[in-house]
């Protein structure tokens, strides 16, 4: 693929802000539109931008696919563990076991904040992995 100076520069400048927006969507998911899935997809789209402009190998140096695979599996396990935490205190699966904060603040809504972070990391790692494998494949 031919390299373009403009695409290279813009994607490098835009990359941290896309990641910041993704983290904002994840961490404010219980107060405003957004949430784990959407934030994770936005995180992944930032990494895809780097993949398209600088090549998969340079993106894979920062986000090694072995670690991404570990993160994706561990986050699903963590989600199940947090769900089972509700069973441990004698209530239903995915029952809240953290104290509820003040309404409207970021630490409100118990452990939904942490669930959003877990789901966001899992979705982001999964979509980045799909794109790595498709971009690396040889085709017909």
């Amino acid at each position: 693929m031919k390299e373009s100076e403009i695409v290279d520069m813009i994607s490098r400048k835009l990359f941290p802000y896309i990641l910041l927006f993704g983290l904002y969507l994840i961490s404010y998911g219980h107060l405003s539109p957004g949430g784990g899935f959407q934030g994770g997809v936005v995180l992944a789209s930032g990494v895809i931008l780097i993949c398209l402009s600088r090549g998969v190998s340079s993106a894979e140096r920062v986000f090694p696919s072995r670690k991404l695979r570990i993160v994706e599996a561990e986050m699903f396990f963590l989600f199940l563990l947090m769900g089972a935490g509700g069973l441990l205190i004698g209530k239903y699966f995915l029952e809240n076991f953290l104290p509820l904060g003040e309404a409207g603040e970021v630490p409100s809504g118990g452990f939904i904040f942490f669930l959003n972070i877990v789901i966001g990391l899992k979705v982001g790692a999964g979509i980045i992995l799909i794109c790595f494998y498709i971009l690396k494949s040889k085709g017909e």
Binding site: P33, G34, G35, F37, L52, I134, S137, G139, E140
Partner: protein, 76 residues
């Protein structure tokens, strides 16, 4: 406003089915996704609109374009 977006959705959906060149069809599908995310926003579902704009117009379009560049360019 909703009716205009719905008519445009039908037009772009039909166009993306009719094009023989796959790249044109994918671009029409991306416009379809953007318009439908606008429609979701007008119907007071900003949550779904963010998901549609990020997945439909962003990630899926990139994947389709990359896959087309690695396989055939036109429909058989």
């Amino acid at each position: 406003m909703t009716e205009v977006i719905l008519i445009l959705l039908v037009i772009f959906g039909t166009l993306s089915l009719q094009f023989k060149k796959l790249l044109n069809a994918v671009i029409c599908l991306a416009i379809f996704s953007l318009l439908s995310s606008l429609l979701f926003y007008y119907l007071h579902a900003p949550d779904v609109a963010i998901a549609e704009a990020a997945v439909g117009a962003g990630v899926a379009t990139v994947l389709f374009v990359v896959i087309i560049s690695k396989t055939r360019k036109e429909e058989k």
